[in-house]
Symmetry: C2
């Protein structure tokens, strides 16, 4: 039931995703059983094609995250996390309330190391056709330098194992390239990142280089990252509406990656954009599947122990 | 001597600007006298056409701002501020070192109220053809809520008197529209701004609405504002290089406004982009002239007293 166009876009996306699954992979659907069954029937698909977990409760997009997790125990969001925790499923994805997904993932799954704050990451298209990771994009509005170091380790693992970038370059978003430039947060973070030998830290990156293949991982506070992706989305919308055609503009479409992973929790969790259509839902499922198959969370647990 | 293309672009811009001056307006040039005279001669302009103040020292773009101001007393930047302070000129503009311009303006001119921190503002094109103000864009990397309130008062005056926008709408850049959303800085700033009766505060604005005529003044910390304008510049460059044509893209050209005013000092000061060409220099001078003619600094002194 997650997202502005649920359940239709979600069901349509699930059917697209199912065609791309390998024999050992399968989808488990969480939502109101009768509604799912009738929507599948509309598409000529028997209910027996999927394992369906009946979840009569719904968490509204504007609802309080913590309250929703505590009270809506029969919602798809809470039941999905319960199944994930109990290893009945190996990854969990939703286009529902982002705040509730963040709170639910931490409350239900815990974090991979004491005092670690999970981050929400975003895929950022590059002019050369590649992809970089921007982290955090909204899980942590206020950050300490130590949080940004953790985001760097988590996101570097993601870039290495899920995006298959060898020795990913990690840059710190800043308002100057020199190490001594910036605000209190970035000046200290730069010093800390320079000491982490397992990271390929390349220094400060100005936001003008967000899309120009200067770095594979771009680190910032959740406030700054959220402002950055929403500014880029705003410009994308303006240029799209003005009828401009460009391969780079196409690559800025949120649909292409399907969602934002939450890193730092011990299981694969992906949150999709609220406006997700069927293609975005399909890609959200594909992304979650890659996070499972690459054993990302196991790699992250190792990396965060030794950093 | 300010900017990457000085002195040629500056001289060319000055000659363009001079054609648009009113009879009671005149330009005073600060720089190495013999160089200015030979550059004017190349253009067939007699040195007597301008008052020229000989400034043999040069401040490099990468130089330390405070050190430069203290040591390079014969630079155009320091002499310009001296003339401004002594009312020998009424406004001062340069495409030189932004940090040195900020430090110089405060050290030489002071601020319009005790404990006030001046801000650097940027003109932001709107899809409807209008212009909004983003403030601060880099003078203050770390800000307290009180600083952001001052930026709002200063920038609202600018929008009202220089851009001639009646009762300008002031929005706070934030990662959610609800007053309780955001980081520690924006949550408190929202509460403070709501209490300032002289401001038309319309609440939080998400960065996706930076260009869509939601607000006339957009307030944020210098770190966030600097990241925003450089991200937009980066996308502008990408789309420009890909050969796209669009009126909105044209309006994103830094040349159109010619520079970033420093607000909160008692005299008109404008800093132009380091890459300024002749057209940008012309517009920088035109903007400084408007700030003088509209008596912006007098209006600001009144507004900041009564807020």
């Amino acid at each position: 039931m997650g997202g502005d166009f649920a359940p239709d876009a979600v069901i349509a996306g699930i059917l697209l995703a199912q065609k791309e699954l390998l024999p050992h992979q399968s989808l488990v659907l969480f939502g109101p059983q009768s509604l799912i069954e009738s929507k599948l029937a509309e598409k000529g698909v028997p209910a027996s094609a999927f394992e369906i977990i009946d979840c009569p409760d719904t968490i509204e997009m504007a609802a309080s995250p913590v309250k929703s997790i505590m009270e809506k125990t029969e919602s798809s969001l809470v039941k999905g996390f319960d199944y994930l925790k109990e290893d009945k499923i190996q990854g969990f994805a939703s286009a529902g309330n982002t705040g509730a997904m963040l709170v639910g993932s931490v409350l239900k799954l815990g974090v991979v190391r004491e005092n670690l704050r999970p981050c929400l990451i975003s895929h950022v298209p590059q002019v050369n056709g590649g992809t970089a990771i921007l982290s955090d994009v909204g899980a942590n509005a206020d950050c300490k330098p130590e949080n940004l170091v953790d985001f760097a380790i988590l996101s570097s693992c993601y870039a290495e194992f899920v995006l298959e970038i060898k020795n990913p370059r990690v840059g710190l978003i800043n308002i100057g390239e020199e190490p001594e430039k910036g605000n209190a947060l970035t000046i200290t973070t730069n010093q800390l990142l320079s000491k982490i030998e397992s990271l390929n830290f390349i220094g400060n990156i100005e936001s003008r280089h967000t899309f120009t293949n200067h770095s594979d991982v771009l680190i910032c506070s959740g406030f700054v990252g959220n402002v950055m992706i929403k500014l880029a989305e705003g410009l994308y919308e303006i240029f799209l509406r003005s009828g401009i055609k460009s391969p780079f503009l196409d690559s800025m479409n949120y649909e292409s990656h399907g969602g934002s992973p939450i890193l730092g929790v011990p299981k694969p969790v992906v949150v999709a954009h609220g406006i997700s259509n069927d293609n975005a839902i399909k890609n959200m499922i594909g992304l979650t599947t890659r996070m499972v198959e690459t054993q990302l969370c196991t790699k992250i647990k190792e990396a965060i122990q030794y950093a």
